[in-house]
């Protein structure tokens, strides 16, 4: 078999907007070379922004403040519910308030290395530069970051870095940042510069003369299929982790907006880069609908272990010390329980695959605080982790002060996304992509506390300084609903909905989604192999065919119909899943969140092949019955030397 059974190779691409020169001057250069829009003309220019998470709400607020005519969409009942709200840990910024040797350069370096050398240096450097302004902006909005007794901001170290650069608001940093952005957005709604459409789902992008000119959205309450036009469209629609059904994402998170854009010509980059978070509460039964993350900080004091013997079902407290395997401490003596996320996750999978997992189905490992309680005292443990312990107890019904917690890895974040240039513009002119929905900054693995940073950098500071270069050549030719492209896009949406409602088969939407999730988790999860991925592609194709033959969606389009909403999303996941497997199959190396069984060192660590794979894999949609086309964007490292990671 050759990979080309599954895809075609197209011409290489490059980021035409990326400025050259010293890395610390590139963002200045780009801002200077970008065309500006006279404030008086901004009112005549319209921008559609889909999604109201950190990347969407901040962009909508900022572009509204600048005077553009913004229309914003979200599928939730309020923009404040976007899933950025669930981020717990914190947000990185190179403030060096601790005087501990941090700098923009160090944040840049850590992020490039953490991304396992699969991200763009220019983008990452800009991200690190912008991080400083984000904190200032958020504080000015009233985000209540943690403070010390002197009244200054507190920092902590997070995700295995050696400096304290993470700003946080207890375990609810994402919530506080999102509320800040949401309030800024609502201020613009009140000012009339942003029009907010809640409970609206984007189902198609309208491309006219090669430019993104609008979207088709469904009013989820009335079912009305609406056509909206603008001079530019921004997708801030988040990641696609829900392709696995079980993930830490919100139930509604979906790939539809990105996927519809992809089908209209936007390249999809590195779809196989998935981050699996090691400390989640394990699955307890078939009914499980989502996985809950337990903050990574638990690994600072908890010890991870499994029984040495296979199938040992004794009460963990009865298992003597010498019959326990503290496998992370054993394999990685210098980092121990604090190894990066991808390594901790895969190690847990390995011990469970050996049959030493604990809890229902043997899919779990112990995270034990007995030693910490003995060393620090129960009160100190409670002060530090009390809220997490409570959450664990609420969900599992077990008391973690007495019985070790059980944890298991879960899909958490997707580094891949729509391909964008330095301006955050996709391969469709006028279609911009921000936040987790794009692929740009994290490479093959994202460091802790960097997702919030990227979402806000894109929305507050990057996009508002680059979109003007595009809009300066607008306003574009006026079009209305009778334009053939608008009519065609609307027709695509309505016929798809009609089709979904007309099948009236025998299986529910969720049953398909769960089955897809099982396939993805099994073959395109923590460890991937040629054999498994090939099999997964076959299974997904068969499942997709069955879906379109046998799905059962009740009700009509003219009402709130949650099954219909889900059906459309699952239909798109069924296409994305295949592309993820193809991407994973073609990348015959291990890097970051992508581990290929065939590419590992002698002692089982991830092995990159920089000579062959130091590129961004940007996929073009080939058509429903044709293969996707791979375009490679070469990655060059001028500042950070490419090295193999080691945590031994």
């Amino acid at each position: 078999m050759s990979d080309n059974d599954f895809f075609l190779v197209g011409d290489p691409i490059r980021d035409e907007k990326a400025p050259e020169g010293p890395i610390n001057e590139r963002w200045d250069k780009r801002r200077f070379s970008a065309k500006l829009v006279n404030p008086a003309n901004r009112r005549k220019l319209s921008v559609i922004i889909v999604g109201t998470g950190l990347a969407g709400a901040s962009a909508a607020a900022t572009l509204g403040e600048a005077g553009y005519n913004v229309t914003s969409f979200c599928y939730q009942d309020s923009p404040r519910r976007a899933h950025s709200i669930a981020a717990q840990g914190g947000i990185n910024a190179a403030k060096n308030y601790r005087n501990d040797g941090d700098s923009i350069y160090r944040l840049f370096y850590d992020t490039v290395k953490g991304g396992d050398f699969r991200s763009r240096e220019s983008n990452v450097y800009r991200l690190a530069q912008t991080s400083v302004e984000i904190i200032d902006q958020c504080v000015a909005q009233g985000v209540p970051f943690a403070r010390e007794y002197g009244g200054l901001l507190d920092n902590r170290s997070f995700g295995g870095v050696q400096v304290s650069r993470t700003f946080y608001a207890r375990g609810q940093t994402g919530q506080q940042l999102l509320i800040g952005a949401y309030q800024a957005l609502e201020r613009q709604v009140a000012a009339g510069s942003v029009k907010m459409n809640t409970r609206h789902e984007m189902l198609e992008v309208i491309v006219v003369d090669g430019r993104a000119r609008g979207i088709i959205a469904r009013d989820m309450v009335t079912g009305e299929i609406e056509t909206h036009f603008a001079d530019a469209v921004v997708l801030a629609t988040g990641g696609y982790g829900n392709v696995f059904f079980l993930s830490t994402n919100a139930m509604g998170c979906n790939v539809t907006a990105s996927w519809r854009a992809h089908r209209k010509g936007a390249l999809f980059a590195n779809p196989c880069y998935t981050q699996i978070h090691p400390t989640c509460i394990p699955v307890s039964g078939d009914y499980q609908s989502k996985l809950t993350l337990m903050s990574e900080s638990l690994r600072n004091d908890g010890r991870i272990w499994v029984p040495k013997a296979h199938g040992d079902t004794r009460d963990p407290r009865q298992i003597p010390e010498d019959e326990r395997d503290y496998y992370l401490e054993r394999i990685y003596p210098s980092f121990g329980n604090l190894v990066p996320r991808d390594i901790a996750s895969r190690a847990a999978k390995n011990v469970c695959d050996e049959g030493r997992g604990v809890g229902p189905g043997g899919l779990g490992v112990y995270l034990d605080f007995a030693a910490a309680i003995e060393r620090m005292g129960r009160d100190a443990v409670e002060a530090k982790y009390g809220n997490l312990f409570d959450m664990y107890q609420r969900i599992t019904g077990e008391n973690p002060y007495e019985v070790p917690m059980r944890i298991y890895p879960a899909v958490h974040y997707t580094m891949g996304g729509l391909w964008v240039d330095y301006d955050l513009q996709s391969s469709i002119p006028g279609l911009f992509v921000t936040g987790e929905a794009n692929f740009s900054d994290h490479g093959a693995n994202r460091l802790g506390a960097s997702a919030l940073m990227q979402g806000l950098a894109d929305g507050y500071f990057v996009l508002p300084n680059t979109i003007n270069d595009y809009l300066a050549s607008g306003p574009f030719e006026g079009i209305d609903e009778s334009h053939p492209e608008a009519v065609a896009a609307k027709e695509q949406v309505t016929s798809r909905i009609d089709k979904l409602l007309s099948i009236q088969g025998s299986r529910t939407v969720d049953s398909f989604h769960k089955e897809l999730g099982h396939i993805m988790w099994e073959y395109c999860g923590m460890e991937r192999s040629e054999e498994g991925l090939t099999k997964a592609i076959e299974l997904i194709r068969a499942l997709r065919a069955e879906f379109w033959r046998d799905v059962k969606v009740l009700g009509t389009n003219d009402e709130l119909n949650q099954a219909l909403e889900k059906a459309g999303r699952v239909a798109d996941f069924l296409e994305l899943g295949e592309l993820m497997c193809i991407d994973a199959l073609h990348r015959r190396e291990s890097c970051g969140g992508h581990f290929r069984a065939e590419s590992q060192t002698e002692d089982g660590e991830a092995l990159r092949h920089d000579d062959e794979f130091a590129y961004v894999a940007a996929w073009a949609f080939g058509g429903d019955d044709s293969k996707p086309v791979l375009h490679k964007e070469n990655l060059e490292y001028e500042y950070v030397e490419m090295k193999q990671r080691s945590y031994k």
Binding site: I85, R147, Q172, Q288
Partner: protein, 248 residues
Amino acid sequence: MNITLRVWRQKGPDDEGRLATYKLTDVSPDMSFLEMLDVLNEKLTLENEEPVAFDHDCREGICGACGVVIDGEAHGPERTTTCQLHMRSFKDGDTITVEPWRAKAFPVVKDLVVDRGAFDRIIQAGGYISAPTGTAPDAHANPIPKPDADRAFDAATCIGCGACVAACPNASSMLFTAAKVTHLGMLPQGQPERASRVVQMINQQDEEDFGGCTNIGECAAVCPKGIPLDTISQLNRDLLGSLSKGVG
């Protein structure tokens, strides 16, 4: 576990609505309440009955999307969100009544789904600090005493779920508004707009047809985030201050 559910079914805002009774067998005590509703919906779908519509998203207690009244209590018997309530809080053989939030300001969209847009409009009326992007001074320009920052944080944890309104005998949104007024009012950045903020937000709240606050305290008692009742006193102090300055 076997559970009998009495679920509010309402086709749309103009429908009268009624309680429908469903029986579920094999409910696991480890299921969340919403997962139990998922199981119900799978069953209904296969029986050709339309599934029950309910709002939910993050299912980890932070987005504020979910929320139903369970046996007469907003979010049910535990002090948490509906998504974090588990079936182990119920007994085998229980009959559980599930209703939507009920308030004129929260019209029912369908079944258990209500429209909470009124909360967004209260925020639009003044629940923000005007700090256009790019205008901020350094984050350390304004030290904030830790107690103030902590109190602001406690109030800022509001998730806007609407349980306070659902539980209030007057269907008042005072705790929601007070949480925001307190959050922003505790911070130096929030001072310039403090006097007008409270007046504008209260006016909007009245315009949305929420009831008046009579300090009964059910709001704070059901709040899944433990927003303290004293935020309402804080709001009243701010309001008295504003009125005495002639604002509003």
